[in-house]
């Protein structure tokens, strides 16, 4: 690719401004949509605060207990996680926390809805929160059922008017807690830790949670490194067989230590069912949902790019046909097909890269709007460098995809036909 290629490409595109503009429009929109999707996916599945160690952690989010006639699926219970997951050999740390539940506090007669999560002391070691004030509660606090709480910046603003909150008390669900720390807001897309207020598990009004194998809690396992994950998975699976189900309404268990992506894949593709290798009786199909989801997403993206690519192909062919006589002249003067194709590919790449550049502010705007609507609260979703690179990569793929066929057509143009300008 030489400078003359670029200069010629620029002149050609400039000559037919209308065509260039509509092509750019189409490309920019497509790439903007794809970049937004990439940013959202990165935000959901990538390692972001406070679930910073996503690449070396696994979660136990769901448990299924079943027999011939019944099936219960829900979150694991505290007893299951405490007895069978907490002591997993090879894990650096294991935390158990409840699913955040909607609750409320009343300030001056007004109701403030908030999400309350019950967590153990290890929670603050496995996850990295950004503390604005104070500090987290400890394992001692959990042991002694101290009524302490960590609140988010938003709750500090709404309940305490934004001033220092440590030492003050907040009443939630007929219980009074003393604030010991304030953290930065957590985006609502965080599967394990999205909440507004965190309190020790032992402050739950009733202690019956300690006996439940099923219900209301999740576990997050932090491994020393990524390589330790398969061993942890296997260890959990073998422990499953040893769980005593004699007092429980089921005969078999199914659960798995999963990454976020695996969790979503299972939920989306199997309606939440566990595959055979995770079941104690080995029934059912053995399917790799994560791989299937990746495949489907890949196909989905290609399909999505198909229509804009087609559009670009059509426009490109129009461009070529219009310049048929120019091509004919160059060919008859000895230009090889390869050279002409190279020229065309450069034009196409310039077009798609320009479109890609245009797509970035569009995508940024779209993400701004998405963050503002109540759809995704406290998003803080920005165009990270990963999403940016993904977008750029897509632009190049796009350019090559839509340039292949027209380039081939152009190379087949017979010089004489082209000079005659009959098409």
């Amino acid at each position: 690719m030489s400078k003359s290629h670029l200069v010629l490409a620029w002149k050609v595109l400039w000559r037919r401004k209308f065509f260039t503009l509509i092509s750019l429009f189409g490309i920019a929109i497509t790439l903007a949509v794809l970049t937004v999707v990439a940013a959202l996916a990165d935000h959901t599945f990538g390692a972001h605060a406070p679930e910073v160690h996503g690449d070396r952690s696994l979660g136990v989010y769901e448990l299924e207990m079943y027999s011939e006639s019944h099936e219960y699926r829900g979150e694991p219970g505290y007893a299951f996680l405490d007895r069978h997951v907490r002591g997993l050999p090879g894990a650096e740390a294991v935390t158990v926390a409840s699913r955040a539940q909607e609750s409320a506090t009343y300030v001056d007669g007004e109701r403030i809805t908030l999400f309350l999560q019950h967590a153990d002391g290890v929670f603050w070691r496995v996850l990295e929160f950004d503390f604005l004030e104070g500090q987290p509660f400890t394992e001692d606090d959990d042991r002694n059922a101290n009524p302490v709480a960590v609140i988010s910046r938003e709750i500090r603003r709404r309940v305490f008017g934004g001033g220092p909150a440590v030492g003050r008390s907040i009443e939630i669900g007929q219980q009074s807690f003393q604030v010991v720390g304030v953290v930065e807001n957590v985006p609502s897309l965080r599967e394990f830790s999205a909440a507004d207020v965190w309190v020790p598990i032992s402050t739950l009004p009733s202690s019956t949670y300690r006996q439940g194998l099923l219900g209301g809690f999740r576990g997050l396992i932090l491994a020393p490194s990524r390589d330790d994950l398969p061993a942890l998975r296997a260890e959990l699976r073998s422990r499953l067989d040893q769980v005593d189900l004699s007092n429980e309404p089921g005969d078999h268990l199914a659960t798995a230590a999963e990454t976020l992506f695996e969790l979503e894949a299972r939920r989306a593709l199997a309606n939440g069912a566990f595959s055979a290798e995770h079941r104690t009786d080995g029934s059912g199909e053995s399917v790799d949902h994560a791989a299937r989801l990746r495949l489907l997403l890949g196909i989905g993206i290609l399909l999505f790019m198909a229509l804009p690519s087609l559009n670009l192909v059509n426009l490109s062919i129009s461009r070529i046909l219009e310049r048929a006589s120019e091509i004919g002249v160059r060919k008859s003067f000895g230009a090889s097909s390869r050279e002409l194709v190279a020229q065309f590919v450069v034009e196409n790449l310039v077009l798609t890269l320009l479109g890609g550049l245009l797509a970035l502010p569009l995508a940024a705007l779209a993400l701004e709007i998405l963050s503002d609507t109540a759809l995704v609260s406290f998003s803080g979703v920005g165009l990270g460098s990963r999403a940016y690179l993904a977008g750029l990569g897509l632009a190049i793929v796009f350019g090559l995809l839509s340039g292949a066929y027209p380039a081939w057509r152009m190379s087949r143009l017979h010089p004489i036909q082209a000079l005659k300008e009959g098409s």
Binding site: Q101, S103, Q174, P205, P308, L310
Partner: protein, 402 residues
């Protein structure tokens, strides 16, 4: 003229094939969005079957110890809660259920009558539910104290369940449904029917619902229990706090949370409309892009065929005739695109991924029709400018064209 246009189109088939492909793609995009939107609209305009304005629910997490009370004393607890609620000025009526509304959680089972099996979703409710939720009976009556004397358990079902088992327009009152394989004496007698009970919300499909009696003089089982209350318009959060304080006094180890159905409904609508809105927006941009592209391509076509058009004008074709010719070619192409697209879309019920439920034929038909119409309008709009351009070609100039 038609035949001629067809022949012209066939001459340039390779070129037209690509445009056709683009049209088929656009049709499918339109179809997807129109289908989703029509399905949502259809759901939205069907009545819910219950009131959500001025109705609150209190979620209670009941522990396993029955508050440490004896069985006899624990059995008095539900009535205590109801009494507290009804003693408040702001509360017009109250009831107890197990599951909330605008929520997918529930208990599902299978019943049958005469070999005809149906999936049923159970909704246990105390007799006060009729007044609290504003249920309207289409036939029979709601559950009540008089059912205690019945040797069979009683149920109130929705019309959807009745139609599925016994056919539409059959009054189910008096009929009996049984668990599979059980005798009639272990079954459930229908004492009333409601027209609709769309428990899961405006934008989800209605299930086969059955109200079962929840007697308030029995201890509440462990797990979740939901209190329903109808409040006077204008009731504030102060009443909410009052209720929570009183409930907490009765059962200090239980957890209570209050929801206003109005807010639950908003959340439900937002959750289900969001994907459609986003899909619609993206589809809109895609179609705009296709439209602009098509206009450009057609413009190109006209410019390339200047001599041909000029020649026609020279031998006497009128302006409108030329314009029609261009438009006709385009419209033939779009009709073909719509036909092909319909063929592909028609495969949907057969291919049907497990993820998507198969839509009913009437909805499919309507969506196909609307999408076809919209695409036709779009392509015609695209063709207007180029066809107008064609009429502006002066024969003499055209014949000189280089």
């Amino acid at each position: 003229m038609l035949l001629h246009a067809l022949r012209l189109a066939w001459n340039r088939k390779r070129r037209n094939a690509l445009v056709l492909l683009e049209l088929v793609g656009s049709f499918l995009v339109l179809f997807a969005v129109v289908l989703a939107a029509l399905a949502a609209w259809r759901s939205f305009v069907t009545p819910l079957g219950f009131d959500w304005q001025n109705v609150w629910i209190v979620h209670a997490q009941v522990d396993r110890n029955l508050l440490g009370l004896s069985e006899e004393n624990a059995a008095k607890v539900p009535d205590l809660f109801l009494a507290e609620l009804e003693s408040l000025d702001a509360v017009e009526s109250a009831a107890i259920g197990l599951f909330p509304v605008f929520d997918p959680s529930g208990m599902r089972t299978t019943w049958e009558d005469d070999g005809e099996r149906v999936a049923v979703e159970l909704f246990p409710a105390s007799p006060g539910m009729e007044r609290t939720l504003g249920l309207e009976l289409a036939s029979g009556r709601f559950l009540g104290e008089e059912d205690r004397g019945d040797p069979l358990s009683t149920v109130v079902i929705n019309r959807k369940l009745a139609s599925e088992v016994w056919g539409a327009d059959v009054d189910p009152v008096g009929r009996v449904l049984v668990p599979p394989g059980a005798e009639d004496s272990e079954g459930y007698r229908v004492v009333g029917m409601v027209e609709h009970f769309r428990k899961a919300g405006d934008l989800r499909a209605e299930g086969n619902m059955a109200f079962q009696p929840l007697w308030t003089d029995q201890p509440l089982g462990h797990g979740l229990v939901t209190f329903f209350l109808r409040v006077r318009p204008g009731t504030t959060a102060a009443t909410e706090k009052e209720i929570l304080d009183r409930f907490h006094a009765i059962a200090p180890t239980w957890r209570f949370d209050v929801d206003w159905l109005e807010e639950n409904r908003q959340r439900h609508l937002r959750l289900h409309l969001a994907p459609i809105a986003i899909g619609g927006l993206v589809a809109g941009f895609l179609l705009l892009m296709v439209g602009l592209g098509l206009t450009g391509v057609l413009w190109q076509n006209v410019t390339l065929r200047t001599r041909e058009i000029g020649l026609r004008r020279a031998v006497g074709a009128t302006g409108p005739a030329v314009r029609w010719q261009v438009l006709l070619e385009l419209q033939l192409l779009s009709l073909l695109g719509i036909a092909l697209g319909t063929l592909v879309a028609g495969q949907l019920p057969l291919v049907g991924l497990d993820v998507l439920p198969s839509p009913e034929p009437a909805l499919l038909g309507q969506s196909l029709l609307v999408s076809g119409l919209l695409l036709f309008l779009l392509t015609t709009a695209c063709g207007l400018y180029p066809s107008w351009l064609a009429t502006r070609i002066h024969p003499a100039e055209a014949l000189h064209y280089e």
